[in-house]
Symmetry: C2
Subunit: 298 residues, 2 copies
Amino acid sequence: MNHQKENIGVIGLGIMGKPMAKNLLNAGYNVTVFNRSSPSMDELSSLGAHKASSPKDVAAKSDIIITMLPDTHDVKTVILGNNGIMEGASENNIIIDMSTISPQITIEIAQSLKNNKLFMLDAPVSGGDTGAINGTLSIMVGGDKNIFDKAYPVFDVLGKNIVHMGENGKGQMTKLCNQVVVAINMEAVCESLILGAKSGLDLNKLLKAIGAGAAGSWALSNLAPRILAKDLNPGFMVKHQQKDLRLALSLAEDLSIPLPCTSLLHQFFRSIEAEGNGKLGTHSLIRYLEKLSDFKLT
Amino acid sequence: MNHQKENIGVIGLGIMGKPMAKNLLNAGYNVTVFNRSSPSMDELSSLGAHKASSPKDVAAKSDIIITMLPDTHDVKTVILGNNGIMEGASENNIIIDMSTISPQITIEIAQSLKNNKLFMLDAPVSGGDTGAINGTLSIMVGGDKNIFDKAYPVFDVLGKNIVHMGENGKGQMTKLCNQVVVAINMEAVCESLILGAKSGLDLNKLLKAIGAGAAGSWALSNLAPRILAKDLNPGFMVKHQQKDLRLALSLAEDLSIPLPCTSLLHQFFRSIEAEGNGKLGTHSLIRYLEKLSDFKLT
């Protein structure tokens, strides 16, 4: 343990939170963890983390508390609810929410914390489980700049493209803008693949021919090959992307911004959910195009 | 002049054809050119090219004849029409059409040429004027493999990602798949920017935060910065992309493939044409989103 470093709490040890906690341990931080189910806590404990009995208990043992949870309600409950972070935290503690949740609720939670002399950063990430494991996440941060600066060494362990976007909420807003692009780029890949497939093109050659030019995208380079390999495992689950698109469309509604293709993609992905396939990766969108065309990629 | 190298003809000295002809001259080829208007011919002549009086005349002086023309009708006329390439060409000449045109008409033209012991390659490109100038085009080629191999040294001067896709027509089909992705990726960028702008985000920071991860694309890296700089000059003109989307949707119709977002994008870009702005770059799509939202990026 390095006594120069802050004590870090991590709440939520899922596909993202667990590898992030490991990276913090590996970087020499003193880490206290809490998760609703215990196997992940046991695993982290065996690597040197302390197990806590509640979010309040995590907060009591930490200077910086990270939350990585499924949705808005979970974050609000863990921070402001019974046995929550606010009950255990000490003055000037920093709560970093790295989940993707409502920007508006983020602003409200940050205000509640501020009223109790606690600081919040909203710091959602992009890069998936691979990014979490390799410590190469993109991190989009909202909150006071001096708090961002204090927390920077922690972000530096977890990611590599770390941008302070402005006040609380703006990290979340940035993430939602990210998800709009991610969802629509996936449709671009799928419409191209279905057209190419029924044209009789060799789809591997197609990807080679178009991937290096103006059609290039992360989705084309990383997810199209998985489609061709018939591997629809996540990556990033449809049901989680649907939650993010719901948040993006809600923000857009509040702002009176029509987002025609984002809105359509939310509906298209619902067809994947209707099949009971919400736990497939987002590239399972190809199944929707296949259904529309009554034609399957071979 | 290098007597080892074939004589090359180039018909169509527009924004793409002119720099391509220059690159062939620089590579030591003997180049004969034809264009409907003469200033481009004079410019190429001053660099060492021979001026021809018609496509037939180009063909009579060339072993390999490249066409780089606006649309299907132009290519058909220049190859099969009066004073066209077929009238002037000698047995075993190779006609390379690098325009983006109908795959079906391409197949018909190739058959007509074959009946006259002439060979055709359809070899549309991606990479824009910059790619043409720098010789870094992506080239997607349809036609006999042995003809592709013979023409390869010429492609190698003009591009750097050169893929033989199969028989005639498949180069064009690949290009249309490319354009589907290009058009939809542009919408992804614009929906994200309008949402970010009205959320009050610093859009330069937004691009930095999301450009390196799962939202990354050529459009986000290359065209979004032009939008922020309020530079809507082409790149690639809306009216040319509209022609390509029309071809893609026609191919899709022939194949009974619904392409919902490609179809929408074709309509969205029509709104830019309705303003009389078809000569702006495709990133002027942001104007459509701005109109929908009654809000302008600042």
